[in-house]
Symmetry: C2
Amino acid sequence: MATLSQRHVVIERSQLPDLCVGCDSRAASVCNAIEDRDMARLAAITTSSEAPVGRVFIQEGESADNFFNITLGTARLFKLLPDGRRQITGFVGPGHFLGLAVSDTYAFSAEAMEPVRFCRFSRPRLRVLLDDFPALEKRLLEVAATELVAAQEQMLLLGRKTAVERLASFLLAQSVMGVPCGHPRAHLTLKMTRGDIADYLGLTIETISRTLTRLRNERLIDIPSTTDVIIRNHAALVNLAGGLNRSPTA
Amino acid sequence: MATLSQRHVVIERSQLPDLCVGCDSRAASVCNAIEDRDMARLAAITTSSEAPVGRVFIQEGESADNFFNITLGTARLFKLLPDGRRQITGFVGPGHFLGLAVSDTYAFSAEAMEPVRFCRFSRPRLRVLLDDFPALEKRLLEVAATELVAAQEQMLLLGRKTAVERLASFLLAQSVMGVPCGHPRAHLTLKMTRGDIADYLGLTIETISRTLTRLRNERLIDIPSTTDVIIRNHAALVNLAGGLNRSPTA
DNA sequence: TGGCCGCCTTGACACAGATCAAAAGGATCG
DNA sequence: CGATCCTTTTGATCTGTGTCAAGGCGGCCA
């Protein structure tokens, strides 16, 4: 298992005067709540760091001193049971804000799946910033509310859906990832392993593999390579998934 | 199945000048973020209503026009699959704030388990209030963050824990409900049925019943009546539950 | 007081998904 | 180009929990 990062690569502010103004992932992140002219204040409390693949840069149970904002790469968020069983609670990419916990320790761990770059804010400093920029706070509330809704959807999946239903839901969710509105993508390139998918959906690697094969045999998807999935029958998947976000007619 | 409320009992503001100032559940709710002197403004946009047992006063998928704040009674929050499978996402009591969804429809339903009284705010009106009272917004963010952490814990439970582990976790959670700090209660009076517990833990009624019996046979709990549970071996339950919020030593 | 009805418990059996095992890809590296 | 290692696939079997079924208990109402 990957160990907690000992030392982050710190990019000096002086080297990057436009750290926040020119940030690639700003549009997608909570930072878009701050105007250009106030960006200096944001940049002033930010430290940009990175974590190589496999590094656990947030560790469940450790003192929650910082907030994070992913700017590059992907990470898995997860919780562990004492015997090592793992539940992945999400996959996060650029723009994602981490560390909203009120408690003084992190409630989950975060591990880089690709090389990850992120901004770090200390708790007290962010607090000051929030006082000065109500828009930022509003944005955080939005983010939290959105994640809460997603979490509830995931509880439905984990508590009540069958293996096929879980996989169908997962593939559909992947197909709209990062597509704010408009058509879902038919071609997916998965950044996670079967093991990750299993730990995200509350199943085993073998069940993931078998169920994907089954969906392929039934012509709902194609699997040109291990990491690529093509959705061939979107409607059938939606049906299997339990009609994403339908209004119950019962 | 209970039908959506047709008509709420509306209490006129003029009849209750101290609607918010004297509110019993104010201390426990987000409203405590507002000073006494500003309570009039809060009361001005609030409508107090009630729902009898079994009434679904929030319906998943319907237009999310209001926010709610429970002041009395208990409700179950849940999501349904088209074929009727139900996942209960939480049990909420006085002080609980509902409707944080960003989307324009509710993401879950809420049904009264006991007669429920609640305050209702319209979305736009609350928005105005939030602009005027940053402290309220801060409080909401706290609430959302807390619920998010709880949701992640529940995902771990639903995705990775066995039946005994789920029940142990549930009983322990019940034992600290409403006990902010200090000793957990040993004597629990459950407000929910076995069916509710099953739908909350992602199991069936039969498994709940069998597992409770098993815990009783092993002297970890007593079950003096259907609704009462006495925790006899707290440490053993914690152990079974997977060490609530331990820091992983792996 | 007795009958009804809903909830809970218990038992027998079934099955979805887990576990165990082995082989097949596919990447990396000397 | 082969060796090694890791991930994925597939097969065989097992098992925890679901399903089906039958009582039991308690509350409520007439």
